[in-house]
Symmetry: C5
Subunit: 378 residues, 5 copies
Amino acid sequence: MSAKIRKSIGKIKGLLPTPTIRKAQRKPPGQAPGTVLHTGTQKLDKVLITVHDFTETHFESIPITEIEKSAPYLSDSSKTWIQVRGLHDIDTLKKVWDFFDLHPLIQEDIVSISQRPKVEPYGEVIFIVMRMIAAHNNGGEMFKSEQISFVLGSNFILSFQESDEPIFEPVLKRLETTGTRLRRLGVDYLAYALLDNVVDHYFSALDQIGESIESIEELVITNPKPEHLQNIHSMRRDLIYFRKSVWSLRDGINSLLRDETPLISNEVKVFLRDVYDHVVQVIDSIENQREMVYSLYDMYMSALSNRMNEVMKVLTIIATIFIPLTFIAGIYGMNFNPEASRWNMPELSWPWGYPAVMVLMLILGLLMVVYFKKKRWL
Amino acid sequence: MSAKIRKSIGKIKGLLPTPTIRKAQRKPPGQAPGTVLHTGTQKLDKVLITVHDFTETHFESIPITEIEKSAPYLSDSSKTWIQVRGLHDIDTLKKVWDFFDLHPLIQEDIVSISQRPKVEPYGEVIFIVMRMIAAHNNGGEMFKSEQISFVLGSNFILSFQESDEPIFEPVLKRLETTGTRLRRLGVDYLAYALLDNVVDHYFSALDQIGESIESIEELVITNPKPEHLQNIHSMRRDLIYFRKSVWSLRDGINSLLRDETPLISNEVKVFLRDVYDHVVQVIDSIENQREMVYSLYDMYMSALSNRMNEVMKVLTIIATIFIPLTFIAGIYGMNFNPEASRWNMPELSWPWGYPAVMVLMLILGLLMVVYFKKKRWL
Amino acid sequence: MSAKIRKSIGKIKGLLPTPTIRKAQRKPPGQAPGTVLHTGTQKLDKVLITVHDFTETHFESIPITEIEKSAPYLSDSSKTWIQVRGLHDIDTLKKVWDFFDLHPLIQEDIVSISQRPKVEPYGEVIFIVMRMIAAHNNGGEMFKSEQISFVLGSNFILSFQESDEPIFEPVLKRLETTGTRLRRLGVDYLAYALLDNVVDHYFSALDQIGESIESIEELVITNPKPEHLQNIHSMRRDLIYFRKSVWSLRDGINSLLRDETPLISNEVKVFLRDVYDHVVQVIDSIENQREMVYSLYDMYMSALSNRMNEVMKVLTIIATIFIPLTFIAGIYGMNFNPEASRWNMPELSWPWGYPAVMVLMLILGLLMVVYFKKKRWL
Amino acid sequence: MSAKIRKSIGKIKGLLPTPTIRKAQRKPPGQAPGTVLHTGTQKLDKVLITVHDFTETHFESIPITEIEKSAPYLSDSSKTWIQVRGLHDIDTLKKVWDFFDLHPLIQEDIVSISQRPKVEPYGEVIFIVMRMIAAHNNGGEMFKSEQISFVLGSNFILSFQESDEPIFEPVLKRLETTGTRLRRLGVDYLAYALLDNVVDHYFSALDQIGESIESIEELVITNPKPEHLQNIHSMRRDLIYFRKSVWSLRDGINSLLRDETPLISNEVKVFLRDVYDHVVQVIDSIENQREMVYSLYDMYMSALSNRMNEVMKVLTIIATIFIPLTFIAGIYGMNFNPEASRWNMPELSWPWGYPAVMVLMLILGLLMVVYFKKKRWL
Amino acid sequence: MSAKIRKSIGKIKGLLPTPTIRKAQRKPPGQAPGTVLHTGTQKLDKVLITVHDFTETHFESIPITEIEKSAPYLSDSSKTWIQVRGLHDIDTLKKVWDFFDLHPLIQEDIVSISQRPKVEPYGEVIFIVMRMIAAHNNGGEMFKSEQISFVLGSNFILSFQESDEPIFEPVLKRLETTGTRLRRLGVDYLAYALLDNVVDHYFSALDQIGESIESIEELVITNPKPEHLQNIHSMRRDLIYFRKSVWSLRDGINSLLRDETPLISNEVKVFLRDVYDHVVQVIDSIENQREMVYSLYDMYMSALSNRMNEVMKVLTIIATIFIPLTFIAGIYGMNFNPEASRWNMPELSWPWGYPAVMVLMLILGLLMVVYFKKKRWL
């Protein structure tokens, strides 16, 4: 099993991608609010725009290149989800934003990547920005993380994401199926489904961290090493970052639940309450995992102390047994002249002198061993 | 007594069953809300459904296999408790749910086992989900834990649990007795009684943990060992899990007390206030036990330091006494030629040389002992 | 003074009586709410009931054995305090409760000893339960602690306590004196006086703990020992228990102050505000003492480290001085044959060889001493 | 500079006067509320009463001995400040209280010295009690601390303090000056000025503690000693006491700001808001200083560890170099008879035996030094 | 890279300028409220006053020396920003304040430098005081920090700052450009822009600290040194100071958002909400960085322990191997007379005595090495 653990630890090292809060380029201070500047690090060559148009009986997915082409879908009575992937081509995005007449601050928040999650009403739309964090299923990195934002209108929803990761695939699958609640209810239910989809990913990340904690736990107990401390340190950092990414989402969703916005029906609010519950559960679990990591640190430190104790005991046992014996040997190695007087080391000439000293030493040594046994050092 | 303690510690190792939050299968992300998927690990071969029908004068328990058979009991003026045990056979459960027309989110929550406790009104019913944690009285594991959920209607109550543990036995006993408050009052009082029954079990778990803390306390003071640290660590984890399982129950019951629901009479609210008080008391005790465990950890760490100090003292005393004496013996073991000059080790030929050196060593050694006595190292 | 401290520490060991939360028998789970079962450990042979009847001009104390005998005192216009001591004879108590028609939950709370303090209105009476904790003035144990409960009606007050400790003596003394506020004002003022009396006892317990902290502080600074750690640990536990016993009293009294109950006049509310203030002060002091105890622990740990440092220094000084010297002596104890060549240990035959080596050793030793002086290790 | 620091540390030891909470005599439990008993330790021989009477154009300070003499000043349209210093002569104080008909609880609070600060309306007056803590400017003790209370009426203010410290001197100076806001506005502004005066003193105490922290910081970095730990411990205690003394003042002043009392005009409330801000700032700073002290403790502990490391390194270097060398010398000190066979210690008779061994030892020693250099232990 | 890190650490030492709370001169206690006394340490020779007057079509910047000259700009319909730099010349400032008739407490707060940030309405103006903290881009110090205050009227805004740092340059640039939102909207939007500008600087300071944390992290892992502890300690202090400087700004801006002041339009409130969000994000990040610093401290401490462990192991290995061997050599260095009896050290005369002993020693040594290998000490 050690191989599996070692591999899992190897993966831990990187853990979460470097928190964007520290690395993302920042706008220089004093920029006009609403200055649009992409600060992320994930690049797509071009912006992919897909229109998903659906009614209860009909569903269609159309990739488009110019946003104007979505106009007919928006004007009819169908519900429309416009999925935008890639945030590097500000010009194309600008056209999308202008087409929907989005507030400058929304524009700024969609592309500046270190946003705290928030849910904010802007007149006739609701703007939601959040960070997806998920376990990476295949090799290499341990987590994938990107910023997702939604603009919810009365009959349309816009979604923006940095990469073309198929994170919304399961929702699309359900959307394709006739008769599902997604098709029956309005775009507010779709918004709920997308939100819920992102929150569901948090649980996979939590499980990943949970497994790391367990692996390290086992290693710290059996054989604590300085590397484990670094693992603990980076888990601490990851959990801080994770919490930061989820924390204010709770307040955002809560405000959605309380607000009297016409954009979200009461029927959907019951479902949103469930998402809210899940977010609270994620935050709880993060806090619990942080406590587990503190506890791990404490275990590591006392494992170190135990180690030290063991080392000291070996040293003390050896030294305590042999130092007095060496002293005795030293005495009979002295060169006092026995011929100068009969008091000078007469033992040296006793017929049984040597065996007597050896026996004396043996007894002394055994006494020590008994003493250590009694002290439970052996 | 050591045997008893050792046994009790042996039991501690497992402590609480592995927190389901970490182990329970999760639904893959993006599932339709209301997707019913059992995530627990306890399996009953089939779903047991029992109808307990009662009025003030009459009581009857009927095991049924098809939920439709409960219809007559529900339609008359009697009060009905339908007890469902076993959550693996989704098909049978589905029939129960559909019979009572339960909201999809209720269905999802009943079978997904890592739910946080919650109390939520859904139109004409109130849904309550909570986790029972109790001390295991007979051998083996230390705790038993399963998810319990209730659906309270105007004249019926549904209860769902994973296993067929007889946790509601005492309530049933009282229900069988004519003239008890349970028979007199409505199903809201029965709901209270069932809730109270679950909360009462928390106290047995608290007592169990309290005993573990005391056992380890005694051991840490007398003879701290690395295993105790693991015990402390797992108690910490258990208490985190326990708190998580109880914490939000408080808010749930509180919202019941404040809400103007017709399902719960004012008379029963007085009793619910008492359950609320008990939950608060459980949370208080958990927090206090967590503090005790922190304190235990501190004791363990300083017991280690004390140990180290003791070991170091022994080493220092032995080394400090014998190293200088060995040095003196070393000097008189040098082979300078006394015949080369009268300055070369004349002591070797002094008639009293050897005894004088021995006395000198004795005095030196005694001085050391006196010094250590003064330092209180002995 | 050391003798006095040692005595005071001796007393500390037990500190508070074992927290009842852990020891008190619990009702088995699932008991009917209102099940009356005494869970305390203090036993009085029989229940003592005393009626204190008073008006502004008149005061009388009558011990009775049957509660019915109190009827005339209750029915007239005088104010009546019925003091019940001893909680083991449930039958007698039951008669008292039935006489006053108390709610089953009140009955349950009066005799179950691990109650959190609470203040609750039940229709026409107010029920108050709290724990008295006081310093023990004479020998043996350090604290006495028992549960006190009051039932306040419009013209009577019931008090229940486990033992026959004369804790209300001072209030009784004042009640005997004509013209005091106690005699002038209603039973609500008496209720205030009794509450205040209990809260006043907390301060004596606080002072006791404060003295223990100071004693141990002095000992930890001068001569830290493992026993002190146990003292610190049990003080921590006691403060946790103390806080638990007082904490929710604050909310209880606060709710009394805010509630529009006719049972408590505005004039008395001014006084209750004062009790509230005292309870807050007690909680503050407990928190501060907990911080002091944490600080004590830190001091203990660093005192240990200091000790270790000192021990290590002695070892290092002795070893560092004598090991090199012993090495030199060892060299000249080698048996190379000087006759084999003139390179073989010619020093042995130098006329000044021995004194030269001795001087060399002396210089080396002094250099070491100087080095340690410079390092401030001496 | 070390001398200055050492002096400043000398001063630190006592730091704040022993917290009265622990030392002040307490009333025995069960005393009638409103029992007047002075519990402070500062004694003035007699109570000094001074009447400061002022209008916009006129100012007069009259020391009086009988409170009745203040009647004419109170009855006219002027504003009057009656300053009472000394709290030991309860009889004289009683006359003052009765003259102003103060509530018994006010009387009790004025003289019981361990009061938490509070601001409480009593019918037609507002009662304010707080603790002044200030840096001592001249020698000896570091802080002075005494309880101050105010009773604010519609056209008068009473101030009580334990000692005759001239803490209100600056306010008096401004009061003597015609045309100041103090003279123009009512007694509520005077109350503000006095409050502000007391709060200003907190900042001097904060600065004092700040300086102590810096002194110890420097010492802990350069040369940590056990005394510093005691300093840290007593700073912790002082800050706990300081916080306790200021904390609830915030709520008190806040309630003044919100209350619709006619005693305080809106114009003065603007100024009170400023005092409120200062109190919050004091509390902030105390919290920050507590964190600094925690950080200091951490520094101390790791300075100790560093020390230990250094000591251990010296020991290890010396021992590791000389123990193997001594072993080699020991080998050639063995007395095997070379004549018994040619295998018995032939080295002893080699012409270059001795120099070879010496060179071998030298090389071994140098290798060790190189190894330690590589390990950066030198 | 080590050189770069070392440099970055060199810079860290000073980190933030000494917190003014500790160093700034304080007003002596008891000063009249509104006493104007500059307490900062940054000095400009004279006060620089610049009038920025603008409408949608027009922009003008006029440096003036007498505040009266700004009158024409204020009276017309244009919007006016009066920028005041330098706070040492109280006389000139006094003229400005009197010209705008500012409340004495505003005057006091503008020049007393240790203010907590606050936002307070004073009749017809809103007063905002905050502390700018920014990374220093060019060499030497790491941060620049100064107090900024704004007075916002209906058609003018006053800004005060200590130095002539061009912190508002970017806002001025945008103001010069025709058609920007700054020119279109009112002075409330300008106030927002200035606030936002200051808050933007916080992010640069955060990034700076983040980089320091990462540098030290790397150093602590590879080679922990006592200096790093000082770095950690001063980062802790800086973050405490930073938090203090930002913390109450949140409440201030929040009260602006909630207040029904006519000075701020709803359109601008949307933007203020964004600033609020940024301030919350700054506070979050500070808290996270503090946690990182705690974690760093923990890493440092355990790195120390690891070091100690390593040192102890070397000592123990050397001592444990050589002490027994030296003891054996000591035995055969004893001078028992083989001629006295055949029991006296016959080994010395055995033909293979010496090689046998050498082999014995070798085997013993190897056994030790094997033992340490098994214990993973090598």
